[in-house]
Symmetry: C2
Subunit: 310 residues, 2 copies
Amino acid sequence: MLNGGHWVSPSALEAVNAAIKKTGYRVNPHARNLATNRANSVAFLLTETHDRLFEDPNFAVLVRGAADALAVHDIPLVLILAGTDDEQRRATEFLTSGHVDGVLLVSSHATRKGIISNIISAGIPAISCGIPLGFEKKMGYVAADDYEGAQDVLRYLQDAGRQRIATITGPQDTSGGIRRLEAYRDHQGAELDEALIVHGDYSKESGAKGMRELLNRAPGIDAVFAANDLMALGAMEVLHEAGRRTPEDVAVVGFDDISASSAATPALTTVRQPFERISEEMVRLLLDVIAGKRPAAITIPTELVVRESA
Amino acid sequence: MLNGGHWVSPSALEAVNAAIKKTGYRVNPHARNLATNRANSVAFLLTETHDRLFEDPNFAVLVRGAADALAVHDIPLVLILAGTDDEQRRATEFLTSGHVDGVLLVSSHATRKGIISNIISAGIPAISCGIPLGFEKKMGYVAADDYEGAQDVLRYLQDAGRQRIATITGPQDTSGGIRRLEAYRDHQGAELDEALIVHGDYSKESGAKGMRELLNRAPGIDAVFAANDLMALGAMEVLHEAGRRTPEDVAVVGFDDISASSAATPALTTVRQPFERISEEMVRLLLDVIAGKRPAAITIPTELVVRESA
DNA sequence: CTGAAAGCGCTTACAG
DNA sequence: CTGAAAGCGCTTACAG
């Protein structure tokens, strides 16, 4: 009856509820977990080095969104930070021991393959944030439409009359980094100039470094598409120091729409990734998989946010 | 024997380990938890509204430090975000149901009294980050030495020849906000001028707003002590817009040493709170309390970091 | 439909 | 020291 059950007389129900309240009865979660063989919790696995955890505000947004979406179902979020190999070993051990019913996987550099394949072969329900490179068919995921988002940027820059558009890429072992560069290559088409492509790692410093490199290689550029906001912000600083005006001399566009971007001077034009939506969908898909459904993949459109920098 | 036990012949031990490895045996955590009546996990409770969670990088540092310190003991971190009253009700329910062995309490505005007293009366081991106002004697905590840290700032400004020092306070229902203002009042002594005190809520915007107010009230000030870096950064922007140079016309000092502070122009002079150390000590104290020891309180010294803004 | 019993997989006190 | 048994507090299949 405690579990809902069927019809019970109102007075009986009331009496039971009163008794529950009076005695302060609580189900013992461990006993329940043992009997049902469920953990009633979900892991949020961040396979990311610690510095990025601090630097990139997106993680906080994702964590919060996931925790909120799970709270509705009374499912606690177990946070697992596993940046190093050793931490990933521990994490694998933990995840495959029945401590949680499933895992939300965030920031899956392809170099983290070990832990992903362990999760899959252990049969733990899991949903990835972004495409789980190499496991697209074996694990559900929800990803922003990186390709379309990047194309939007490039079309916008072109329509604004920009002639020589350079790009600072993201890491090439992440789906976002790869897809945004693909879009750039496709857009440039026959006019593609490899000298206008410089590689970054999503950190602000790498954006600054990339911008210096570009200024050396191709002083004539009039636009830069950085694969994320942090790098775009770093690039803008370098341009400023070099005496180039943004957007007059060089337009700058980022990707992510972190809060620092609207506060920057000039405010950064960027592509908004709907992270609240992403984490919400991740939770939904994960609960589906836990409930026995087959894993699904969702791609969510992005939105171009035009501000001052381009 | 699986639990260490006493002397076993090396060959027997080896045989058992081999068997364990071969069959892939794992203890069932739920069965263990039921038998031992322990959850083997700890909650990280953030009673903070969501916007601050994103804006203030200190939370990420604390979460990471706590997760790392707990990982050493193989104890997972259950993240609980409870900004609203409703969320705090759920959190209380959860915490008092045996899901976790203890809780790390972060950002305890005094307005969050309800949840704190529930935790205490339920007898759940807990350690607070910062002084748990109103419960100092009933709950262990680890806090930075806010008073000394603020005094350091004020002495430094005075020694630098600053004559009219204003302050932008933190929220007056947090121990940090209160103690840093106390230090200010005590330092000003007989020369205390209430017009030089303006209240903020630790957000960047409130710092900007406070600065405008100060500029109106007391145009002659030559230094501002903001109770945290975010507000100091907001204040610096307003000074810049108002055509006042930092530090030449008005010196600015913050508190926290977040990463944005060293990157700012001019780089912000501030007080470093050793958050890695704080989270580490919190975990240590909490595990002690869980093990049955009496709760302790630790105050950790801060460090003045002199950069360009003062 | 109801209620007593078995079973979940550990730990631990206890008999041998 | 060792090994079998009881017990942790639930859920659920099953007999009544």
